[in-house]
């Protein structure tokens, strides 16, 4: 074959260019130990996410000193959890799956970007050096409301950050003289023990209790206030632990209907 000299030079230059590209990218990924989204994770039944240990309750969990794992579910047309909160100076591994159709999980303006495919779990690890707020967009068309599918990622400073969950539950009605017992559960998904104070405020009354919640565990406690101090009527209450709160209300009656406990149907 008769190939012109210039053509030969061009051909060689083109091959060199191509090989150089491959080498750069290989170094830029494999060489630097950057893992791509791959097949690291097992498959999962999208209709049974509710029973799954990780995705049953989408959340962020601490797994090492500065290491966290986030279990994220994408579904038409939202993300769980939302917002996702992680501390600065941390390394977070995201596990993302989809409940229904294919979505994406993409932190706008960054290279944190993955498909969320029903049946598959995407895994990627991201380092967050600075506090900031990011938008999460779904960039894979997923249905008629696709354009409203968004989430938020908050990277917060270390002292603002915790993985505490608070829930509180109290009675609807009590008779004057009985005590109002509010059951409180404090969950700590960080590794270190959480030493804190649980406070119940109701009317002018305040009671508190020091608790220590072991890392990765929860404690239950009950705070009580004597209803005589409140008087008859409706009273709102609030339980606080650090920045978290939970509230409800109770009605103090002169006398309880005998079968009130059986569930009076007056609502």
């Amino acid at each position: 074959m008769n190939v012109h000299t210039y053509e030969k030079i061009w051909l060689v230059a083109a091959m060199v260019l191509i090989v150089a590209f491959i080498a750069t990218i290989t170094y830029g990924s494999v060489g630097l130990g950057i893992a791509m989204v791959g097949d690291q994770q097992p498959t999962i039944e999208p209709t049974e996410l509710g029973d799954d240990e990780r995705f049953g309750e989408p959340r962020v969990e601490q797994v090492g000193e500065n290491e966290y794992e986030a279990y994220v579910v994408a579904q038409t047309f939202s993300y769980q959890p939302d917002p996702i909160e992680v501390p600065e100076d941390s390394q977070v591994t995201f596990y993302v799956t989809a409940r229904d159709v294919i979505h994406s999980f993409s932190i706008a303006g960054t290279n944190v970007n993955t498909m969320a495919i029903p049946g598959e779990i995407a895994e990627m690890t991201v380092e967050f050096d600075e506090a900031g707020e990011y938008g999460i967009v779904c960039n894979e068309y997923c249905g008629p409301d696709h354009h409203n599918m968004e989430g938020k990622l908050h990277v917060v400073s270390a002292d603002e950050f915790d993985l505490t969950d608070l829930s509180a539950d109290g009675p609807d009605e009590v008779a004057v003289g009985d005590s109002v017992d509010v059951d409180v559960v404090v969950e700590n998904r960080q590794l270190e023990d959480l030493e804190t104070t649980v406070t119940l405020e109701i009317g002018d009354e305040t009671v508190s209790e020091e608790v220590t919640v072991p890392g990765g565990d929860a404690v239950e406690t009950t705070l009580s206030v004597d209803s005589s101090a409140l008087g008859e009527g409706d009273h709102d209450w609030t339980v606080t632990v650090d920045d978290h709160d939970s509230s409800g209300s109770v009605t103090v009656l002169e006398e309880l209907d005998d079968d009130a406990d059986g569930g009076e149907d007056d609502e």
Partner: protein
């Protein structure tokens, strides 16, 4: 008898006319949907519900990249085979047969899509041209696509029959270059379409008919991309053919090298298919190694395009020097810039060079994370299929239309204006799309304006980018209007006896310089098949092994309109600060380090 195509091959000219007009109809519809969605997205004009945006987008995608491009290319392929073999097709009824299959197929698909606009008919297919399960379209949508593709398969048989018959009479001759290009392209297409045929016939169609309960979303998606990457070469190879066999002629010279042109098409045949996984770098469930192989193949696929760039420029220079051009760059002035056919193709080629740059970014496994599914990608393929291919097709129409109708072109100056306006419009639209993509603005989104956050632009603002996109879109629409004015004007003209002869460019270095092995189509097909088997067997087996042939239990999502609630948060907030594109890549890549 004159030597205009319509006089040489009147029956074939009629089929080509039908194919061209089908193609232009699709282009017109696609263009209308294109400007509607441009103005909707950028929030300059929203007269429909955002829910309907996705029906518009499906129609834009399918009509433009399936019907416009493919109808046009079967037209020029028919021209190429008959002209270069200098013989009519074997049986014109067979030819009308495949044209009808294609026409019926695309009509069915089109009806299924457009029915999505009305609640009166219980039918929709707003699944975009990628139709990823578990999004589900009406069976008519899939069925129509099948017929259309089968039509193209039969068309290939038609051209092979011509070649076989010719070979029997000319046993010792080299395959003429245009026919060689048609045959290699079709062989590539046969291999490529196996993927989409399997996806539709084994899974999606039975599933939409309720014959099977579930599908494996990752499997059908992978089969789609098995086809979805090489289909871009199915659009591009006819444009390359035009650059090889027509552009040198319009430049006033000859093709630089016939053998190298053959090498390029053989490389496309071999390398086009085993690359599709590069669209799935971000898919969980596919091992990194497979993605890596796809990336390597993709990079090697740059070679035929780089070679084409050389040959095209060298041929143009030769033409210019024949016309008296001189100097290092001075010869550029000697090119026939007043000829819309030449200028359109040259501008298309220029934009393709820019597209090559953004394409290399896309192909890089790691940098792809930054741009995947953002507006960047839309900017990229409006340079490739939307300009390199579409503008080349429109430009050569100004030469082909007179050939197949026997009528003179209505207006050469409108034609010249048309290609220039397209170039300018696309420069605006595509550049702004690329930049918006780097900020994270997603593609395929009716209202890329969110409640909880704003996209941060470093230079200019989102508002400015949107304005450029809309301006570009309007210019493109004007350009399309000028194109159709010319098509209609030409059709209304009377017969002319003053048309150029039907011929294509000769070569400086002719086919006799090409090693015989280049014409061994069986060999190259075998190599292509082996490479596909290497690249795809393991990924497919692994996907099936992980997720099952029919996947996990998934709920189909027939996209009904009532399921949608549109929150119209029309207030689009303009971001303030931003950097230049290059800086944007660098900084965004630093924002988060992937491990």
């Amino acid at each position: 008898m004159s030597n205009v195509y319509i006089d040489q091959f009147p029956a074939e000219a009629k089929v080509i006319r039908a194919a061209f007009y089908s193609s232009f109809l699709a282009l017109a519809l696609g263009g209308v949907f294109g400007i509607i969605q441009t103005l909707h997205r950028t929030d300059f004009l929203r007269f429909m519900d955002s829910v309907d945006y996705y029906t518009v987008l499906t129609a834009h995608g399918v009509f433009l990249v399936i019907s416009f491009t493919i109808f046009f290319l079967v037209g020029i392929f028919t021209w190429a085979v008959t002209t270069s073999l200098d013989r009519g097709l074997e049986d014109i009824r067979f030819t009308w047969g495949w044209y009808s299959l294609m026409a019926i197929g695309i009509t069915m698909t089109g009806v299924a899509i457009l029915a999505g606009f009305t609640d009166a008919i219980d039918m929709s297919a707003s699944v975009l041209f990628t139709f990823y399960a578990p999004l589900q379209a009406h069976p008519l949508f899939y069925l129509g696509l099948v017929l259309f593709v089968v039509g193209t398969w039969v068309a290939g048989v038609d051209w092979f029959r011509s070649w076989w018959a010719w070979k029997a009479e000319n046993p010792d001759e080299r395959i003429p270059l245009p026919t060689f290009m048609v045959l290699t392209t079709m062989l590539m297409w046969y291999i490529a379409t196996l993927g989409v045929a399997a996806a539709i016939l084994l899974f999606l169609l039975p599933w939409s008919l309720g014959l099977i309960e579930t599908v494996n979303p990752l499997l059908t998606r992978t089969l789609f991309w098995f086809f979805g990457h090489p289909v871009v070469y199915f659009w591009l190879m006819p444009a390359y053919m035009m650059w090889y066999v027509m552009l040198p002629k319009f430049s006033g010279g000859k093709l630089f090298s016939d053998p190298l042109a053959r090498v390029v098409f053989v490389l496309f045949l071999i390398l086009s298919v085993p690359t599709g996984i590069h669209h799935q770098y971000l898919d969980p469930g596919i091992a990194e190694g497979f993605k890596f192989i796809a990336m390597t193949n993709t990079m090697f696929l740059l070679l035929p395009s780089l070679l084409t760039a050389f040959t095209v420029v060298a041929s143009m220079e030769h033409g210019a020097r024949q016309r008296g051009g001189e100097g290092y760059f001075g010869w550029l002035k000697a090119l026939p810039w007043r000829d819309p056919v030449f200028t359109g193709m040259a501008l298309a080629g220029l934009m393709f060079a820019a597209a090559g740059f953004s394409g290399m970014i896309n192909a890089g496994m790691n940098i792809n994370y930054l741009v995947h599914n953002t507006f960047w990608v839309v900017g990229h393929f409006h340079l490739t299929v939307g300009t390199a291919v579409a503008l080349t097709f429109m430009a050569v129409t100004y030469w082909f239309l007179p050939q197949v109708t026997g009528k003179a072109l209505w207006s050469r100056s409108v034609a010249l204006g048309q290609v220039v306006v397209w170039f300018v419009g696309m420069t605006f639209m595509s550049n702004a799309m690329h930049r918006a993509g780097l900020l994270g603005v997603p593609r395929r989104t009716a209202e890329p304006q969110y409640e909880g956050f704003e996209f941060q632009a470093a230079v200019g603002s989102i508002g400015e980018l949107d304005a450029q996109i809309a301006l570009g879109g309007v210019l493109l629409t004007i350009s399309l209007g000028m194109f159709f004015a010319n098509v209609v004007g030409t059709a209304l003209n009377g017969r002319s006896d003053d048309l150029p002869a039907n011929e294509y460019a000769g070569a400086l270095s002719g086919p006799d310089d090409a090693p015989l092995v280049l014409d061994n189509l069986k060999l190259w097909t075998a190599i292509a098949v082996v490479l596909v088997i290497f690249a795809y067997t393991f990924p497919l087996l692994s996907i099936i092994d992980r997720g099952g042939l029919f996947g996990p239990e998934v709920i189909p999502f027939p996209l009904t309109v009532e399921s949608a609630t549109t929150l119209g948060f029309a207030l689009e907030t303009a971001a303030s600060t931003s950097f230049e594109s290059a800086g944007e890549i660098a900084t965004s890549a630093l924002t988060a380090v992937m491990r």
